[in-house]
């Protein structure tokens, strides 16, 4: 029998601590849409997405209403488009047409983002991969809901430095083409090392080629819930701290598990995974930086922050793994700057720097995320930042990513505003010293010694 205390605890999490299901993401394979004729390809893609995800938004809203926990986003991820469009697309412009098709399909079914405008080039680039990458700035400018991700490295293959260098230019070009909106295009573009095939979160979601035809992946959230529960154990030792986070993560993840199973049943699409990530939003109280503060740091970025984040990430996983039958995606804590009000404030007052964020990415689930930098940052420096982050992922056998926004026309201290869940923040300074001779070498960084496990 359900206890009254438990019922009110759950409802308090929703009403006062921003507990929600962050996303129900339907992964859709587009491999069976492949055709050598561009118009046929686009028609096949549009038809498959709109048929598969027709009821996704309604079902997500129904489940949210019936269980009393809101489902914030309903989204779609598709097979990396460089693979799907390889036969039909002979130029970057051809790929842009596919991006526009994805955008129309997303609008038709009512999802707010569609991910998978992607290329997996961690070892080398095919002509199709290169064309897709070259098309990204124009595709992001002309579409509203399409998200792009490019995989540049992995522990198994090393790092494709030609692609890293190219992405320095592509990120700047995307920024330039969307400069009227504070270079918003770059908020929909992420580069990865070791990306998971089943990530439900944007901008990095794509439907990996190892996945089934359609799949339901769910991303839970709940930084506010963790922060609130930690406020009740102030001054207690690390055992109590860790146990408290673990128990809370269990409860939060169970919501995701329930929603994933229910969405899977109602949509008649197999359940894939629950992603355990603590994903903040710009809403007050929905912040990873607030958790770090509650753990004992004056502000996020103070010495001790990396250790605190390591604890948080590990305990969230330990609690979450028991709560779900299948765990996957990114699973950990996200540390975006603009999307987290207290993180943005910590950066503004100088507590949090780009270098400290880089250190934190060694122990968090993703990487340098939603960081606004000066618009005059050289492409080679952006490539250097990417290379550093890819190296952390490659050596530590973890996912790392870079979603960085050079805001054209703005400099350090100016405010970049992206709106909605993407938030706003002051532009952070970047190390002024160059790395052009390093990133311009070309070629590929070999896989590390510990990748040879066969």
């Amino acid at each position: 029998m359900v206890e009254m205390k438990e019922v009110f605890e759950t409802n308090d999490m929703v009403s006062h601590e921003n507990l929600d299901v962050r996303t129900i993401t339907m992964g859709i394979s587009l491999l069976d849409c492949i055709d050598s004729d561009l118009d046929t390809l686009c028609k096949n893609i549009y038809d498959k997405i709109t048929a598969s995800a027709r009821d996704l938004v309604r079902v997500g809203d129904d489940i949210g209403l019936e269980f009393g926990v809101p489902v914030i986003n309903k989204r779609i991820s598709v097979t990396p488009i460089a693979l799907v469009g390889g036969s039909a697309c002979k130029s970057p412009e051809d790929f842009v047409k596919v991006a526009e098709t994805l955008d129309s399909a997303a609008k038709e079914v009512g999802v707010n983002f569609i991910g998978g405008y992607s290329a997996l080039v961690q070892k080398g680039m095919t002509p199709a991969d290169r064309n897709l990458i070259l098309s990204v700035p124009e595709a992001l400018k002309r579409t509203e809901r399409v998200c792009s991700s490019i995989s540049l490295g992995s522990t198994k293959t090393g790092i494709n430095m030609d692609a890293v260098r190219l992405m320095g230019d592509i990120i700047l070009e995307s920024a330039e083409l969307t400069k009227e909106d504070d270079s918003l295009g770059c908020a929909k573009l992420v580069v990865f090392c070791n990306p998971p095939d089943d990530n439900p979160f944007m901008a990095g979601a794509f439907h990996g080629v190892t996945e089934s035809d359609r799949i339901i992946n769910v991303g839970v959230s709940g930084p506010g819930v963790v922060k609130n529960v930690l406020s009740k154990v102030r001054g207690e030792n690390f055992e109590v701290l860790c146990e408290t986070i673990k128990k809370t993560a269990f409860k939060v993840t169970r919501v995701g598990q329930l929603f994933a199973k229910e969405a899977s049943r109602r949509l008649d699409v197999p359940f894939g995974i629950v992603d355990l990530s603590l994903a903040p939003t710009p809403a007050v109280g929905d912040s990873i930086a607030d958790i770090i503060h509650e753990m004992g740091m004056e502000y996020a970025g103070a010495p001790g922050t990396t250790a605190a984040l390591a604890i948080l990430n590990d305990q969230v996983k330990k609690g979450g793994v028991m709560a779900s039958s299948y765990v996957g995606g990114l699973s950990g804590a996200f540390i975006p700057v603009t999307e987290d009000k207290s993180m943005a404030y910590a950066a503004e007052i100088g507590a949090l720097t780009l270098e400290k964020l880089e250190a934190m990415t060694c122990v968090c689930s993703v990487g340098l995320d939603m960081i606004a930098i000066p618009g005059d940052t050289p492409a080679t420096t952006i490539a250097g930042i990417i290379a550093d982050e890819m190296a952390i992922g490659m050596i530590n056998q973890k996912t790392t990513a870079v979603r960085i926004i050079p805001v054209i026309g703005k400099g350090v201290g100016d405010v970049a505003e992206f709106g909605g869940l993407l938030g706003e923040a002051k532009i952070m300074p970047v190390n002024k010293f160059g790395c052009a001779d390093f990133v311009n070498r070309g070629g590929r960084i070999p896989a590390p010694i510990h990748s040879f496990k066969n």
């Binding site: 009254m4 438990e6 009110f8 605890e9 759950t10 129904d62 269980f67 329930l258 028991m322």
Partner: protein, 90 residues
């Protein structure tokens, strides 16, 4: 049986439970259990109800409970029971 958890939160005053119970009776919803606490001047109430014989959809139940809540100056929510069992039971 389709068990739903009803929660009611608000400032306590005379005449809260009457209109809420009447709403359930009028809509063929059977009340299985009621628990209630009053802390200072605030009432927290939980009901377990069976909506097996309720012939409208869940959206309507939620919006009608909103209206009933407004009448008695309380917030009334309806949720499927599984959410609480999932969160609080291994």
């Amino acid at each position: 049986m389709k068990r739903i958890i009803i929660t009611l939160v608000g400032k306590d005053h005379v005449g809260i439970i009457g209109p809420v119970c009447n709403f359930f009776a009028d809509n063929n919803i059977n009340i299985l259990d009621i628990k209630q606490t009053t802390v200072q001047e605030y009432i927290n109430m939980m009901m377990i109800v069976d909506i097996e014989k309720y012939d409208k959809d869940f959206d309507t139940l939620v919006s009608d409970l909103d209206k009933t809540g407004e009448k008695v100056s309380c917030i009334i929510k309806a949720q499927h029971e599984e959410i609480f069992e999932m969160m609080h039971r291994i």
